[in-house]
Symmetry: C2
Subunit: 278 residues, 2 copies
């Protein structure tokens, strides 16, 4: 934990259904990030298939099982070639025949975790089944990487679970649809991630996307936030591709102290929080 | 719920131990807010006694029981005189002889709620006993007012409890000590409140203070945030007194929808959040 860990978050232009081009965009971004010494590269949500499906049939035709998955195979090869960890979203065909909006952490030719998005956004409910597991937390040589996807971040309980699970950094593949932002304001999605990083004293690396897809535009909010809640790189907030990198001292995320008498986790009053689970 | 509710948040210059002057500052602020048509006026934390006590003895000498309290009596008179609701912090001597960092909602000559801060900051732990109750939520003609104090806001579980309890607006008396803020950034305290308002689709009105007290300086972050997570008034972020007002359609806080298929409360997965209470 002594050395700096270089985290990269990649904002990609993806295109629904053009899996080969999307994989190529991801590979190029990983290569660029590796050129900046990235130990961990975060890619967007559903970054193999694109997002704005015409419906279940289109998504199903593009999905693949986690166990035999061309996207994960490609990331395994990238993880070996560049000696880096890849975390990104893919369209999973479950062994139960259902579709999941999933993400994986891949390192050293291995898929270390597959996480299924637990909170589904809008038309995703017509296509995907929500996951029933907690946010993934994976131990790596440089620290512990948590994993959740897009709308999951809007549930502070979820980020808290990752922090309680020991995550030093949350890797968050997203596709943030754009909403109006008042003049002079930072998009609410970015503000939320800043707050959650600060409240849990963790790093959060968000990889968003760009380029309108079937009429949907994106925040382009790719950002890497430190445990004090301030951005270390980004937010991009522009409709262009970007590979952000930031050297992060992940040991900072192990220190939950705010003062000599305060700690963001031990100051919690969990016995009073019961109604949150009802 | 049809008419706009005018919410006021008052940033006051307080002075530890100078209770008469502090009460006068609060009275002047309530008068000014009422002049702007305020239905609800939020005052800072410990706004009768000041904050930076030399120790328990000084605080004890300044505290008074909720049942017979000069500060609450003054607010009752103000609530009658100006036909407004007052929510603010005071230094409470409990019937158990302990001190509490408390806040009250006062309306129509009545004390409708007394809430004791559940999460104590730094040297408060040497002076105060933490409360064991949930955030207060009070029903008023214009809507439901939640009440919590300063460091409570750093626990997203707490704001969620207020939202689950039906709060349309959270009144938050605070004394936010200043920490370094990177150039061009908004203070993390304000960012956090924005995120919590947005994640719960509620209004949050924060009343901070100003003027250094025994070497402690303040964010001066008084702000009124709407349920979209963007400020409606403020943040002040300056070391001066201010009375912010914003007309708020509290009915917006009853609409938790983010899309035709999404709702910030019903999209929660409470069965998966159990570890948050452990």
């Amino acid at each position: 934990m002594e050395r700096m860990t270089v985290i990269a978050a990649c904002q990609l232009a993806l295109s629904v259904g053009d899996v080969a081009a999307n994989r190529a965009a991801a590979a190029a971004a990983v290569a660029e990030a590796a050129g900046h010494g990235a130990d961990l590269v975060v890619l967007p949500e559903l970054c193999d298939t694109g997002y704005v499906f015409s419906g279940l049939a289109e998504a199903r035709a593009l999905a693949a099982p986690a166990a035999d998955n061309p996207t994960l195979r490609a990331w395994r090869a990238l993880s070996m070639q560049y000696a880096t960890v890849v975390a990104g979203g893919f369209c999973e065909l479950g062994e139960d025949g259902r579709l999941y909006n999933s993400a994986a952490v891949v390192a050293g030719d291995e898929v270390l975790a597959v996480y299924r998005k637990a909170h589904l956004w809008d038309a995703e409910k017509l296509v995907f089944t929500p996951g029933d597991g907690p946010p993934a937390v994976v131990s790596l040589p440089f620290g512990r990487v948590g994993l959740m996807i897009c709308y999951d971040l809007e549930f502070p309980e979820w980020v808290r679970l990752a922090a309680l699970g020991g995550a030093d950094v949350v890797a968050a593949p997203v596709n943030w649809p754009a909403f109006p932002v008042p003049a002079g304001e930072r998009p609410a999605d970015v503000v939320r991630v800043q707050a959650e990083a600060g409240m849990n004293r963790i790093f959060i690396a968000v990889a968003d996307r760009c380029r309108a897809e079937r009429g949907v535009t994106w925040v382009g909010g790719t950002v890497i936030v430190g445990p004090d809640g301030y951005p270390l790189a980004g937010p991009v907030t522009a409709d262009r591709q970007a590979v952000l990198t930031a050297p992060c001292n992940l040991a900072e995320a192990r220190d939950k102290a705010l003062s000599t008498r305060n700690d963001v986790l031990t100051d919690r009053r969990p016995a009073l929080y019961g109604p949150v689970t009802q």
